[in-house]
Amino acid sequence: METSIVKIEHLNKSFGNNIVLADMNLVVNKSENLVVLGKSGSGKSVLIKCLVGLLKPDAGKIILLGQDITVLNDDELNLLRKRVGFLFQSAALYDSMTVRENLEFPLRGEKTLSKEEIDALVIEALRNVGLEDAINKMPSELSGGMRKRVGLARTLILKPEIILYDEPTTGLDPITAKEISHLILEIQKKYNAASIIITHDVECARITANRMIIIKDGKTHIEGTFRELSEDKDEWIHSFFQ
């Protein structure tokens, strides 16, 4: 039985002469939290942006939930995207909408849902991130950690099968960062969703990772559990954990 939810084969992506991903290969299994580490500019964010079709790869195959996204048309890609969650580094909340409207937005295309069902989904998603009270607030009234939580709630509302986190704890104080890391773990258990977590935060990686990879020169340099990588003797790898 196929257990992989994402399969990336020989992925290449360049911006002009700058080669960001070179022959990248990656597999993410069902219900697994995969943490991706790497230096700034090593192509971690480019990797997940290629995965949802925000960036078009130069070469290679991306099999997401059983479909090769490099050959899908726009409508097929939009349908597939509804099964994928994406938490942006800045949370990317729609700043002209309230928290409720932000959460309702991804459900616009769901014509089968009644107003009461949408309300129930919004409240459930907010309850899961502990922010029911913020339902009528504007994004500008929220703190950094609350914005991340609302962004996560907006991601959860479509009950995704895989969630992509782009530096979920960046810019947060250590306590809030830890709360967000535990929230990621809770969500994995509750929704049984796989995750790819791009981060620089070793504590976040320690809490959330089932498996980790480190990217170097546009490809997977090393792969293993947090413990295996943190105990690696290689000085370059060890420097991530200091």
């Binding site: 949802v52 079709g53 729609y94 700043d95 479509l158």
Partner: protein, 196 residues
């Protein structure tokens, strides 16, 4: 606009003893040209820059990417709606501007004379024909469309960073205004060609 043009034109018309032409002359110039173009230019300044800045800011803060990854087509949601709104709204604003400028002209006429509102509008509309109204109204649809299109294009394709937002807003106004003059020039040529 109507008030100013009336006050400015009166001395010349008085010299030729043609003061009674004032309502008709102002009505023709306002409805054919000045009201639609000035309204469109103000529209480009206010709405065009607003569209450019809003979409650029959404682009910079990854809000457009967020829409895309949630399976919503941002082009339909953000671009099509704004272009449609601009195309429909500007002709309405232009009609309001026509009415206000004619009323302004009525005030201008009454600063020196005593003309009733009914007589003023009778004289104004006697000088106008259907061929004055229709082309002027039609071109405002194109003005609105171009302002919306340019604002959306500039905002949607802005460079990253705060500077990109400023450039998008600025170039939306500049290019939108330029497009209004070009469309106006083409509209005038076409109207004069069709009237012969």
């Amino acid at each position: 606009m109507g008030l100013v043009i009336t006050i400015q034109s009166r001395p010349t018309l008085v010299q030729f003893g043609a003061e009674s032409w004032l309502p008709g002359m102002v009505a023709v110039s306002m409805i054919r040209e000045i009201a639609p173009v000035i309204t469109a230019l103000i529209f480009a300044g206010k709405v065009g820059s607003g569209i450019g800045a809003e979409l650029a800011s959404m682009k910079v803060t990854e809000q457009i990417d967020a829409m895309e990854v949630s399976g919503i087509n941002p082009f339909k949601y953000l671009v099509v709606t704004r272009i449609l709104a601009a195309t429909i709204t500007l002709p309405m604003l232009s009609i309001i501007a026509d009415a206000i400028s004619l009323y302004g002209s009525y005030i201008g006429v009454n600063l020196k004379n005593d003309v009733s509102l009914r007589l003023f509008f009778l004289q104004a509309f006697q000088s106008l024909s259907f061929s004055d109204l229709l082309p002027s109204l039609l071109k405002t649809f194109f003005f609105g469309f171009s302002v919306g299109l340019i604002g959306c294009y500039k905002g949607y394709n802005c460079k990253k960073g705060t500077e990109g937002v400023g450039i998008a807003a600025n170039s939306s106004v500049v290019l939108g205004s330029l497009a209004i003059f070009i469309i106006d020039m083409i509209a005038v040529q076409m109207t004069s060609l069709l009237s012969y």
